[in-house]
């Protein structure tokens, strides 16, 4: 489904973020990418979202080169991918309800769909009583659950979670991982990045280890399929 072919990324300041990466992620997989800060995990997710362009190589989504997409195609492509970030990246002047509704509006969903689906997904992440709260009124764990709700509302084919537990305590981390697993069980491909070695023991699925821009380990490949 997602394929990195000989991908390298060098930033304008000369920093090498990725070096000759070759990864293939199959549909329905749960892949955890683990590595210390600066290993290139976030660059990897940015390349999939077309936020960054590779210096060399190609990133394919269903055999189409993501970075050859036009602006309009990128917009449509992003609607097929849900994203969760470490720093949550919620719309601060919109309520929890409106944050999710915005993602649905952006995807061209009708008012009826929005009215019926938003409360449902908020219930799924246990935020139904926080519907009209602004992100600033939510705790870290609640913010991340809201970000997950927003990421899955349009039933994406892939969910990318970049260090989603980086700012959370142990209980909230476990909760987030539990939700991600559930989403994966429902058929969505999940790509999780983390620097937390302990976290991966709880995940127990395919684990890619990265160091200094290179993939140095790939355990349990396709085991989850």
């Amino acid at each position: 489904m997602i394929k990195f072919v000989n991908v390298s990324k060098v930033y304008p300041n000369g920093a090498i973020a990725l070096e000759n990466i070759n990864i293939e992620i199959a549909k329905g997989e749960f892949v955890t990418i683990v590595g210390p800060s600066g290993a290139g995990k976030t660059t990897l997710t940015k390349l999939i979202l077309a936020e960054e362009h590779p210096t060399e190589g190609t990133v394919l989504f269903e055999n189409a080169d993501i970075h050859a997409f036009s602006r309009g195609e990128i917009t449509h492509f992003r609607r097929r991918i849900g994203t969760v970030f470490q720093e949550f990246r919620l719309l601060t002047n919109k309520t929890a309800y409106e944050n999710i509704a915005f993602a649905m509006e952006a995807a061209g969903k009708s008012d009826e769909e929005i009215v019926s689906d938003v409360p449902h997904v908020l219930q799924l992440v246990d935020l139904e009583d926080r519907m009209y709260h602004f992100p600033s009124q939510l705790s870290g764990g609640e913010k991340q659950r809201l970000a997950i709700a927003r990421a899955i509302i349009n039933q994406p084919e892939v969910l990318i979670a970049d260090e989603p537990t980086g700012n959370l305590d142990h209980a909230n981390t476990a909760e987030v991982i539990h939700i991600l697993k559930k989403i994966n069980d429902l058929g969505t491909t999940v790509m999780l990045t983390t620097h937390d070695q302990q976290l991966i023991t709880g995940v127990g699925k395919r684990i890619l280890t990265m160091e200094r821009g290179r993939v140095v380990g790939d355990e349990n490949k396709h085991k989850a399929l």
Partner: protein, 307 residues
Amino acid sequence: MFWVKLRRVIKGGLLNFKRNGLVSYAAILVTTIVLSVITGIFLFHVVLGTSITLLKNKVDIAVYFTIDAPEERILELQSTLKNLPEVATVVYTSADQQVLEFRNRHADDYLTLQALDELGDNPFGGLVLIKAKDSSQYEAIAKVLEGDNQVARENSEIIERINYSQNKVVIDRLNSFINSVEKIGVIVILLLSLISAIIMFTTIRLTIYVAREEIGIMRLVGASRRYVEAPFLVEGALYGIFAWLISVLIFIPITYLLGKHASDLIGMNLYSYYLGHFFSLNGLVLLIGVLLGIISSMFAVRKYLNV
């Protein structure tokens, strides 16, 4: 879907406007200043135009005729002058009317009236006042009366004097003054408008700079460029509308006070002018405010849309 999107965009813009609080107030404040400057410049231009017209109206060429000049010849010259393309009006005052006006003017001055009575005959000749369509054309008209041509030759014996040469310095100075004022006026207006537009653009750019993160997030959750951009344009238009309302509330009392206390000084009643041109003037200012708001927002958002 278009109408649904339009409704969502307008609602989004209204909500952002309401929730941005301080940022919205700051933008409205700056926009109000900008629109007030524009309205002020416009009214100043009107006052300047009126003052210049008043000054121009004070200039004329006076032709004094000899006491024995026959009236029919004066009237003949009057009609010749009226036919000149440069001439706006030619007003003839007969010798008798002049005496009458002189007596009225000096009604309280017994000695002067007595001296006039002692003279017995009317000491005044006829008088023709000529006004040109443009103050730069007096020289051409004066040439017709004083130069080497048929009209001047035929009438030289009935004309006692023409005051153009005496007024020439004043008229020339006035002309160059009016020209410079008009030129400087246009430059000042253009400059102030440009500065206003830049100030407004910078302020709106700052309001959008605050939201740059959010713009990136909206793009990442799959919103199209236009769908991200449009609510900001609504917000920009709202700044223009609110600022316009406030500037109207400022200018009603200002023009009222100027109309009440300074009409003589500026040569017109600014309040009557403002009310008389309320819809055209304010319609234009509203349009400028809304367009400046939208265009500034458009340029400011575009910078952050390339995510």
